[in-house]
Symmetry: D2
Subunit: 437 residues, 4 copies
């Protein structure tokens, strides 16, 4: 199948010395690293929207790349887009994809027309999945692009808009189930506010919780056994979004008793927009038992918006993979490239080169994470650093068997404690040595 990208061959592993641009240098799908194939460890996923739909438009300019796949007719284009997606996944040896409802089929004039289009393309996708052995990592509904959602969907001040969102969510979860998706994502791009002057924040958040609860109940009823995810993002498009970061989303999930059904989908660039590192957000998800899935990309820390670049910083991919592995690895989740080619990467080839860049960067990250784990140095350092808690009064304190008076007495009887060096420079230097030698 080479209908849509005739100039691009199947991308195969050729090793780190090979300079052919259409090869993987680090990603060798079936090579086993840390007990699983790279394919299973990384569970790469194509994002339908950035990959097959978006054409480079930004706030100051039009599309630079044509994604009509040879068709202007809506129906034909819809099918061609799907086929192009499967050709791309095949050539890149990607097993999963993620989609919004409006990615796979453009909205119709009415709700029923939209639903009809979704039903049609769902049949096509099911066949394509079967034929090419691909799966849905997660589905979602776009509740932010249509003007009706300009004030929010689940948090819209208008009840009618809220109900409309409910209808779209119902359909989106139905097709996700139909396509065998193992996850469903809530990203609340308009669930927030532009100004507190016109906003009843408490009421809006309560509505959002009600809606999520209704969706969970319905999904479980129709047989969805996968994970729900909140994907935190602090702002953009809104001035403030309610799912600001991992901790904020967890507070919401705890408050409304939704933590049993939800995990987090951590997006690298959203992390940094919230003032956190990617690693940090992964760690927060993990220690709250909510690590779910990953939207992989990279941001530019000198820019204040979501650049969604293909990930190429190997420090970030290495440390992210370390967090993922330490969180137990992926179960229902995976690593979705929520990344777009730069606006000036304007040829179809660039899409493949970008995926190769991202996949190789994570593959190299996995190889280096394995090296770090096998080396043992970092783990050992951390273990040793907290060793005073492993026995005696430390262990008793962790077990909950002391009083404040006990601790005060202990302190009074001791000499001034001297904290040990954190050795940051040495750790960073050793990390370099492991990574670059």
């Amino acid at each position: 199948m080479s209908k849509y990208f005739p100039n691009v061959p199947n991308i195969e592993y050729a090793g780190p010395k090979n300079r052919d641009k259409f090869t993987f240098k680090y990603y060798n799908p079936d090579e086993v690293i840390l007990g699983k194939s790279m394919r299973e460890q990384l569970k790469f996923s194509m994002s339908y929207w950035h990959t097959l739909v978006a054409g480079g438009t930004d706030m100051f300019g039009r599309d630079t790349i044509n994604k009509n796949y040879g068709y202007t007719d809506v129906e034909a284009h819809t099918v061609a887009k799907a086929e192009a997606g499967f050709e791309l996944m095949n050539k890149l040896d990607i097993d999963y994809y993620c989609f919004h409802d409006v990615d796979i089929a453009a909205e119709g004039e009415t709700l029923s027309e939209s639903f009809k289009r979704l039903d049609n393309i769902t049949l096509v996708l099911k066949d394509l999945q079967k034929e090419h052995n691909k799966k849905v990592l997660w589905g979602t509904s776009n509740l932010f692009s249509n003007p009706r959602y300009m004030n929010g969907a689940g948090t819209s001040p208008s009840f009618d808009v809220f109900a409309y969102a409910a209808a779209e969510l119902k359909k989106a979860i139905e097709i996700t189930v139909e396509l065998g998706g193992s996850g469903y994502v809530f990203w609340g791009g308009r669930e927030g506010y532009e100004t507190l002057l016109n906003t009843d924040m408490g009421r809006e958040i309560e509505h959002m919780a009600i809606l999520m609860r209704l969706v969970v109940d319905y999904a479980r009823k129709i047989g969805f056994t996968g994970d729900f995810y909140i994907e935190p993002k602090p702002k953009e498009p809104m001035k403030h979004q309610y799912d600001f970061d991992a901790a904020t989303s967890l507070n919401f999930l705890r408050q409304y008793d939704l933590l049993g059904d939800f995990k987090l989908n951590i997006e690298a660039n959203h992390a940094t927009l919230a003032g956190h590192s990617f690693q940090h957000e992964l760690r927060v998800a993990a220690i709250n038992g909510a690590f779910g899935s990953v939207d992989a990309n990279q941001g530019d820390l000198l820019l204040g918006w979501d650049t969604d670049q293909f990930p190429t910083n190997v420090y970030d991919t290495t440390l992210a993979v370390l967090e993922i592995i330490r969180a137990g690895g992926f179960t229902n989740g995976g690593l979705n490239f929520d990344a777009k080619t730069r606006r000036s990467s304007s040829s179809p080839e660039d899409i493949f080169l970008a995926y190769i860049a991202g996949m190789d960067s994570f593959a190299l990250g996995l190889r280096l994470a394995a090296k770090i784990i096998e080396d043992g140095f970092l783990d050992e350092f951390v273990k040793e650093r907290y060793s005073s808690w492993d026995a005696d009064l430390g262990a008793k304190t962790e077990a909950g068997n002391v009083s404040l008076e006990d601790l005060a007495d202990y302190a009074a009887a001791n000499e001034e404690p001297v904290p040990s060096s954190g050795r940051q420079e040495y750790l960073e230097s050793t990390l370099n040595q492991i990574m670059f030698s």
Copy 2:
């Protein structure tokens, strides 16, 4: 009493036309606004540290103002500092103060020496409080300046450091109770990390929770009936602090079942460092039932560190007071000026001018907030904006009596919903009109 600031008279209300620098233009303590005296509405508090201790040192330069109060001997200086504080509160007609243990008495060489000093000054402060009719808004322990806490106190990797912190906390809560404080604050300046490479975040946070639980239990045992507060701050001094913002702190309090004893102390400049407005953090605290107290200052949004400026932006003070009033006003909490004079405001006079600036800005904010409430325009706008939720299926949805299918059916039966204009520009313009006319 005019021993320490002989050139500064008692500051009295003289109205907005008066140009004498040593008068209040807006703060008229016993004038009633919205049913309570300004004094009760605002509950101003002096911060012991910035006001009586800090001398202008920054990372690039030494003190510019002398705060030895005429004494170099430790004990005499300790008492003089307290007396100066009460003179200042008297002259400014401030009823409350807040302190860290190390503010009221410098640390000794040993734990027992430090405690002895604290006991001595506590007696002095009790007398001064009685004599001048002043109260403690809240106390706290400085668990971040001493090198022993360089890796954290409650989150130190060293159990001995943790125990030492426990001893200091025990003492700090005891003197807070002794001085009749109505609050106790946890600000975790070193409770965070410099690098994840050496940090077991999950274990550290668990230790922090254990320590807070022990402190609460002990405090309740010795009769403390006030509020505990977490004061969120995202970073500085650490790269990342665990109490990042209101929502993060609430997640922690929920996770460790501490929400019953804790509220939040919202600091304006910490809010903006976390990427939020001051208003936003107050609102988050309120809708989570955790609005407690306020550290009033202002930051500079073009700077990336805590500038702790005296608050003079009247938009911010007005909108903050609106949030405070809508949250029900202060109970145990109050409005503490966690603010320092600029390094180049180098005369003792400047301390008074800065407090006048801050108090007048909040007094004007209160007057304008009252005007906004009495005007009714903003409240009415918000109420109307959500009115579709007040009856019919909207109300039923809020009450939890619908299914996703019900909502989808309703949406299918309706026409395309049209969201109403948010009118941000008109609201901002009307706000100006109310404030400036």
Copy 3:
């Protein structure tokens, strides 16, 4: 004329107590403030693009407001848009407008078709200007939206793109001259880079200078006597733009000897994206003799992109007007509302309410700036602060008549100098008092 906005009356001054939304509360065009009418002091200008073209699209959603003016046919729409603009200016009593070539007439398929459209609409605009007594504040060419400019226009690596930009600039300056514009702006939205990996920065900047020189020479030849402006912006759409801020642009103008023909067009939100206050950038322009014109809007300092909000912060408008007046006021320049209604301000009414908000905020700013100047307090403070330079060795030093040895001798003979308090809090407090009383 009330064809396009039939529900909006002429907006007239009604004073600060009036609550009719379609009136000015502070802008009274012919009232004289500081020796000139408000109209002359402020020289308000409508931005063609945000006002007549943009419909609310952002990176995550489609238009929320329809700006087809009743026509889908290109030519008819082009004329209707112009007429709507003049109706709007008339109703708001705005005397000036600013435009990009592509705002007044959408690009054609070819260069010659585009130029033909521009010629046609120029005739229409000339008539409308004459009929309604309106003027062009400045014109410009959009060299950033078309995909051909994705790598830059004057700084494109492709010479053919550079030449194309030259052709468009030639036309844009011709129509600006034809319409009697008193200014011409260069905003280099794509004149920068996405990554240094593929960029020859030195060569690109030299090309930009060559192009500006050619445009200046041609414009002077065809009779343009107005000002050229660079409008600095640090980033967005590009990762880095060469006209980062005022100082960077001035360095470029000095380096390539263009300072004689160029001044700066300072945009409020671009200032803050570059890490500066609006005031700061105005001051830098002024002290370099390059204050030219203003793009008035406001940003959100908690957001990292250009929000282009209508200006409503009265501190900012007051301090900006103070800078403008101290720089001598506008000559060829003026105050262009480079501002767009919020995406959720979705009715045609909102455009007027937003302009009223912006115009009233600057009108109030002008009134308060006048009050500050007449009060004299701030000016006096600053004058006094530097008074040691007004005589003796200070004056001699300013005159260039000392050596380093002279100064060292003087210092050695003197006692330790004691710098005076900067009194920031007192100044801010007094500013409030002047503004709010």
Copy 4:
């Protein structure tokens, strides 16, 4: 000589596989890379202040490391500090050092006492330099820590403070000349403002220019043939500093005709605080003919202050070295570690581990930069990208031999130009491949 750091051996090159912490893994001083020894390419320098003076104090805590070198007496301590510095340079095989006047000898009570101390230590340092074959990379005067400079030194509103600064500068340049320094740095930490309300920016900047001119004239008179440097920093300690970034400093140098004597000292963390990458600032310096010297460290892009971390990010060191080499390499300048150990890196060992980390990271950066240059891929890509300018009308345009009309005619005769893909992802991916294979 192993008096001050008895537990630390001489650090020697042991190759990338060696795991002894006290060895270099990448820095092999006399190995030739790109035609020069690593020693000559990198010209490492010790910073006196961070290395020998600062003890870990931050805004929220005291020193964590003792730097008294066994002496409390001022004079003995001054000499011991110098000796410790030379021991450290010897053990690390560092050839250069940089200093502020107050680093080498603490200020005295009077100007003459301070000068006397400087004279004394200068003799000691001269001997140590001779004995150990070390050189001064650059000297400077600390005109920001003493309270007298709280409002600035060269830009102080007080003429007496200005004169005092002149005296200190005169002395500092004298001892720099005496010690054979090849550079002299101006870092204007207080040359800026806290608020524009009290600031005459134009007058202040003019004073700064006058002072620099006087210093240059005096220095040349006494035989200084090295470079003067401005070290840009945007803010901190001041709200705004006049030497904001490279371009701003260049504008100032051009305006006051100082560019002949000055180059720039680019500091990595200052670059990022100004919103630029380190690379960017190096490039700006280079294309303005002002590349001089480097203050090497790294910042944390998620933090808003100068963290001055030892550089360990190998992407940054590699790309910085590439810029340095392309700018022609160092002449009078070098690579000064303006970096401090983390506050919790609290042992003397950590100072060495941190220097090893920084030196190895730049050594690895040099090795990788050489690999990139020898590979040729990146250079070739950029050359090709601009090739349309190398001949025909492109070359004629660069030579200044076209008119705007010529270009417009050319564009009209051509078809629509199609810009070529920027290939960012492919370039980043290939960079990884070169770096990691």
